[in-house]
Symmetry: none
Subunit: 211 residues, 2 copies
DNA sequence: TCAAAAATCACCCGTTTGGGTGATACCCCA
DNA sequence: TGGGGTATCACCCAAACGGGTGATTTTTGA
């Protein structure tokens, strides 16, 4: 029996997946989550064999969920199931520990086949996904931002000036500038405006549409 | 018995919806479609009471589907069910003949309730959607960017400096600065970094990570 | 038709930014 | 034990930026 946890922020999609999977006699959905924080909790609690994970989640991205879970246990396997075939999500997802990556326009048959393959130790990659992976391999920039740099970047995206960032984080302006220099080189950009664009488009900093 | 047709290009979502709705004793799914052309054919053939319709479809958009169907028969009611809460889709959808507009993050209970309301002649508009309608109504007066300003903003999001923008658009730097001043005040921001954030988060400039 | 908006440019001026080149101190891990 | 990354700060400097004010021409809309 394959134990599953389904994570998707759209109840319609999530419940649909659950009821669909319930027809499979060798699978059992043991948990659901509608956001990232809930997902981490449910996964650690239920210890499922496979997690169906949407990347776009409120609170905590799918990438973050995988990182946090894998920090504590490594035997859970992740199947990323997303609408977005954008290149930039695939590499981070795979390097964060996803074993599979399917698009939502796959058929139910493919999905259940992928789940079984994953539970059996395989790594089902959709052909379209695999192709994208190869092309983006060439320019694989695994420059990870440090926690502090993330703090700065978030404020940068919020539109803060160096002075404001310094005040917010209790730093000197010089320190902020130092962090920014590192951020720029890691993101391979020249200006803060470009950094904001890259951060948002690559999903490094989540969209915060409270406005 | 409410006769339904489900239209969504993602098999996972579509099949999920179907199996979810099959639990309702007063509803019957009499047809499915994965693209716009198929949808029109199925709807005209089955003459359902209610159509669950995703707006984003291959071949023919949801809007187009509604127009074509309503040209031949007017007794079918449409419930638009989409992931996108973007303002610009709501008004066209409603004017094209949708009686309801729900987001995919509504609960199954809300969905079935909406279907029953629709079949009974009501027009279920999600509160969030209704709110957006109102805000887009009253905010329509303020601050639309001109075409030229959009040109500048796009390049700004791409990370260009004033000089680069000027070169790209065959303008003087002064003109670019002038446009930027207007953009800043219209977007109510102070810096180019903030402008980029707002432009991306509000969807004024589309995400385009082809790099 | 006539005013309002959009689009184009110029000049000034103070502030911010980004890129250098340093330094100190901490922690990890090899 | 020592190197490498992180985090903290300082100083300098040129370039870029953002805010004014003001001008002309074209387009648009009421």
């Amino acid at each position: 029996m394959i134990r599953l946890v389904v994570v998707d922020d759209h109840p319609v999609v999530r419940h649909g997946l659950v009821s669909m999977l319930s027809y499979e006699s060798d699978m059992q959905v043991v948990g659901e989550a509608g956001d990232g924080a809930e997902a981490v909790r449910v996964i650690l609690e239920q210890q499922p064999d496979v997690v169906l994970l949407d990347l776009r989640l409120p609170q905590l991205s799918g990438i973050e969920v995988m990182k946090q879970v894998r920090a504590k246990q490594t035997d859970t396997r992740f199947l990323v199931l997303t609408t977005y075939d954008a290149d930039e999500y695939i590499v981070p997802a795979l390097s964060a520990g996803a074993q599979g990556y399917l698009l939502k326009d796959t058929t139910p048959e493919e999905l259940t086949r992928a789940i079984r393959a994953l539970a059996a130790g395989g790594s089902p990659l959709e052909p379209a996904v695999a192709a994208k992976l190869l092309t983006s391999m060439k320019e694989s920039d695994d420059d990870e931002l440090s926690a502090r740099e993330m703090d700065v970047l978030k404020l940068l995206v919020a539109g803060a000036s160096n002075k404001m960032i310094a005040a917010q984080l209790n730093l000197s302006e010089n320190t902020v500038k130092s962090h920014l220099s590192h951020i720029f080189s890691k993101l391979q950009v020249q200006s803060r405006a470009e950094a904001v664009a890259v951060a948002l488009q690559r999903g490094i900093v989540p969209m915060d549409r409270s406005t």
